[in-house]
């Protein structure tokens, strides 16, 4: 057990804090981007206030020579622009950590275990003739020196970033980054850290946020119509798609509200396009009625819900996993839908493709649940290998492949259309074994049909007879049963030792933290198995029962107050899991999960723990 991947040589966390408007986040992003162009992996976490100016803003960058699963539990290097950010974050600094501060705005508390370096950001910015925000580029220069990033790389980043603002701005910022680099040199850091430049790094990785990954996944899946209404923290998905849609021949329309947005995509799906709308909790609530309609009309629509802290307007810029119940149960009557939860930035790309495939094949609305922490997190992601991309006709599908895009095998599937024989007596809602019936595209002669939210016959005509309602409800849900059976064939989604008697179940963005907690627990001699379903509705029941049957204790970890997923598991599988909730608007950390695991280990008997 000595060569666990978490024991890598390079593994550190840089945190930059300041007042919103100081340029803290762009400083952090530029630094992360510079680091991403080395041979290392990068992972960021961003938090900011809901106001445009003022308030505490922070970006955290983790750099490691191995895949990064979480934001980390402690900080190695702290860069603070003001006293508030110093006061709020100093407790997270590890022993022996380093603080870089602006002596004009921060008075640090002396400490024997911390090394302090003053870099006069405000003064230098003033001297180089750049007003306030220039501080962030000075700090970037200083960090560049500390981590031995070639000034050429830094200057190129500045050029890329500010090019659209004109030459004068580029020149001022290049001067600032040079000033910062020199100021860093003057600090006498002692040992510096080398981030070696890797010429291949750019070719195999890109740095993406979860929101950007969703947008790119949608484009790769063939989405060509997007309607949306801005809402934090889902807006970057919409912004990215507004920028990219025209490039791929698609369309993006900003609507007057969320109801209009989902109405427009329902219309566009009816018209034959692959469609998406991005939103967050309150927007999802408004969309409820139309999601229900899409389910009844059997139209493929994808809704990406980037969860934020609730209820109501709640914590718009903070993270939470609290829209699960609404996504699963928020419906008038019983209407099938599918709910997916990507777990990493890379997964946001692949699960979005999967969401489109499922929507198209099964003609159902698919809700993709991400959250603020994964949406705004930036991480190095392998560039998808398009040699492995397959555009599949519907008929080649189903038996054992399905709908599981992953880096090794990316299928893109479109809906089943009627054949000319079927059009001779076209029944849009024909009752079939799988529940899936061919869907005609407007413009197709003979394919005309009525799509009504009223209960209807195979032809689409209103029909309220008891037999018809039962048969049609069964048809609509049969599609979900077919999907559920397919999921049983998916590659396993659980990790960890087969001897473990403690199991941990999570969903969505907590995967990395849970995975790291598992490694930490194993170091303490406690074995844990970890299940992380990417599709949370429906589930592969048999496989999950199998997972559960081998365990003595099951912990469900989630970022909400009431334990929404735990309740769902409890209702579906009749078990009583130990619930671990965090409801602070912040992502759960590996150490918080570890504490829960160790608590369970302590209360359980000898057999449940295998000492190493």
């Amino acid at each position: 057990m000595s060569s666990r991947p978490f024991r890598s040589d390079v593994n550190f966390v840089v945190r930059i804090g300041g007042e919103a408007g100081d340029g803290v986040i762009s400083c952090g992003e530029l630094f992360a981007q510079a680091a991403a162009r080395t041979e290392y992996h990068v992972f960021t976490y961003i938090t900011y206030p809901s106001e445009i100016r003022g308030g505490f803003s922070m970006v955290q960058i983790r750099i490691r020579d191995w895949t990064i699963y979480s934001m980390g539990s402690r900080v190695d290097y702290l860069v603070v622009f003001n006293q508030e950010s110093y006061d709020k974050t100093i407790s997270g600094l590890r022993e022996g950590g380093m603080v870089i501060y602006d002596p004009d705005t921060v008075t640090p508390e002396p400490s024997e275990t911390t090394r302090f370096f003053a870099v006069p950001l405000t003064k230098l910015a003033r001297e180089s003739g750049i007003s306030g925000p220039g501080k962030n580029v000075i700090a970037l220069g200083a960090l560049g020196h500390l981590f031995d990033i070639d000034p050429v790389v830094l200057k190129k980043l500045i050029r890329d970033r500010f090019r659209h603002k004109g030459d004068a701005v580029v020149e001022r910022n290049i001067k600032a980054v040079e000033t910062g680099y020199e100021a860093g040199k003057a600090c006498g850091w002692g040992q510096r850290f080398r981030l070696k430049a890797d010429p291949d790094a750019k070719a195999s990785y890109m740095m993406l946020s979860g929101n950007e990954a969703v947008a790119l996944g949608a484009i790769a899946a063939g989405c060509r119509f997007v309607a949306g209404y801005p809402i934090t923290p889902a807006t970057p998905i919409f912004e990215t798609l507004c920028r990219l849609m025209p490039k791929v021949g698609g369309k993006a329309v900003q609507m007057e509200d969320e109801i209009a947005s989902i109405s427009a995509i329902v219309g566009a799906a009816f018209a034959g396009e692959k469609v998406l709308t991005p939103t967050s909790g309150p927007g999802l609530q408004l969309m409820g009625e139309q999601i229900n309609l899409a389910s009844m009309l059997e139209l493929p629509v994808v809704i990406v819900n980037v969860q934020r802290g609730g209820p109501s307007t709640g914590l718009p810029t903070k993270t939470e996993q609290s829209d699960l119940k609404f996504a699963i149960y928020g419906t008038a009557g019983e209407s099938p839908r599918v709910v997916l939860a990507p777990s990493t930035v890379e997964d946001c790309f692949y699960q979005t493709i999967r969401a489109f495939n499922i929507a198209e094949i099964f003609q159902v609305p698919v809700v993709v649940l991400t959250d603020q922490s994964i949406g705004y997190r930036k991480a190095t992601v392998r560039i998808p290998d398009f040699e492995r991309f397959h555009f599949m006709p519907f008929h080649d599908l189903i038996e054992d492949n399905p709908v599981i895009p992953n880096p090794a095998h990316i299928d893109v599937v479109s809906r089943l259309e009627p054949t000319s024989e079927e059009l001779a007596d076209y029944k849009r809602f024909r009752i079939t074994d799988s529940g899936i019936s061919p869907i005609s595209r407007p413009g197709t002669p003979g394919g005309q049909y009525l799509a009504t939210g009223l209960e209807h016959t195979e032809k689409g005509h209103p029909d309220y007879t008891p037999e018809n309602h039962q048969a049609m409800t069964s048809k609509r849900f049969r599609k979900i049963e077919v999907l559920s059976n397919l999921l049983e064939k998916n590659p396993r989604e659980y990790y960890g030792s087969p001897e473990a008697r403690i199991g941990i179940i999570g969903w969505g963005s907590t995967e990395g933290a849970i995975r790291e907690a598992r490694y930490l627990a194993e170091q303490e001699g406690v074995l844990v198995r970890h299940l992380h379903p990417k599709i949370v509705l429906p589930m592969a029941d048999r496989r999950i029962r199998y997972f559960l049957a081998e365990l003595k204790h099951v912990i469900v970890v989630e970022e909400n107050y009431t334990g929404q997923f735990a309740h769902f598991i409890r209702a579906r599988f009749g078990i009583r899991p130990i619930e671990v909730h965090k409801c602070q608007g912040l992502p759960i950390t590996p150490r918080e999960i570890l504490a829960a695991i160790l608590n369970v280990a302590r209360i359980s008997d000898e057999q449940s723990i295998t000492r190493l």
Binding site: M206, L208, A227, M245, K251, A264, A271, V275, G446, T452
Partner: protein, 284 residues
């Protein structure tokens, strides 16, 4: 190949009460399709909820009977995705002025190239006779047992103020006139609204005879480009004018979307995967 009115008729039997004005609207719409020779498969008919919402059931087109008040944004999605289709939205006074009222100004602002038929009978018929936004002041209904104590909404002038590029009024008691106006609305490039007065026979607020007496075509010299004149005549209650009140041209949503994508056409000309690669490499 010439089509017959039968080609536009679906197998669903109308649910409207005998004598309902909506039959007139259905007849006029069928005639408009016939006269313009539009293939049934290239028509998308989107409707909301209520008696008028059932209109989409009775046509052999691509028909979508959706949710209350959302016909306009739904139709906008259909048209934006598929500009080659003839797209119509149908709703009533409750659907279009109450629950879905907020959408109309934005469809007008975007100038999506759809035709919106607002069938106004000044009552909620399908829920059995409650007050609507256009029910007359003082009229007694089950939800206004002491008489409606609010002024009815004057929808047509509002549509002109919203900058809809085609605003017209007609009624189901003059099918020939309605047919002509429908044809003009469908041919209009941009958002066209047709305010259609249609008497309800079961919960009547007005009847066919009084409607006929109140209606009068707009004067011959009415200038369709004169917004102020259109608003003034739109407010008139005696007579109630019919015809095209206002008409103008401006770029449609669909044209603007097409124009956005146009400069990137060369990038899209190659292999689909190449196009995706280019988009992704932006981020590396």
């Amino acid at each position: 190949m010439s089509r017959a009115s039968q080609d536009y008729k679906s197998a669903v039997k109308p649910i409207w009460c005998p004598g309902c004005g909506n039959y007139g609207a259905m007849k006029a719409l069928t005639q408009a399709f016939l006269d313009l020779d539009i293939a049934p498969e290239s028509i998308a008919l989107v409707s909301g909820i209520g008696c008028s919402g059932r209109m989409s059931h009775f046509f052999n087109t691509y028909s979508l009977h959706g949710t209350h008040g959302r016909a306009v944004p739904t139709a906008l999605g259909v048209k934006a995705a598929r500009p080659d289709l003839t797209v119509l939205a149908v709703g009533g006074d409750g659907d279009g002025l109450s629950i879905g009222g907020g959408h109309i100004s934005h469809a007008a602002r975007k100038n999506t190239d759809i035709t919106y038929l607002l069938l106004d009978n000044r009552i909620y018929g399908l829920t059995k006779g409650q007050a609507s936004p256009t029910t007359d002041f003082g009229h007694k209904t089950k939800t206004s047992p002491f008489g409606v104590d609010e002024l009815p909404m004057d929808a047509l002038p509002a549509f002109i103020v919203y900058d809809a590029t085609f605003v017209a009024r007609s009624s189901t008691v003059h099918v020939a006139e309605l047919t002509e106006l429908l044809k003009a609305a469908i041919l209009h490039k941009g958002f066209s609204i047709l305010h259609i007065l249609t008497p309800c026979v079961t919960y009547p607020v007005f009847d066919a005879r009084t409607l006929k007496a109140a209606l009068q075509p707009l004067p011959e010299d009415h200038d369709r480009k004169d917004k102020m004149a259109a608003i003034v005549r739109g407010y008139s209650t005696s007579p109630v004018f019919t015809g095209i009140f206002f008409r103008t041209e401006k770029p449609t949503l669909e044209e603007r979307l097409e124009r956005q994508a146009q400069p990137f056409a060369p990038e899209r000309s190659g292999d689909e995967l190449d196009m995706l690669r280019k988009v992704l490499y932006d981020f590396s």
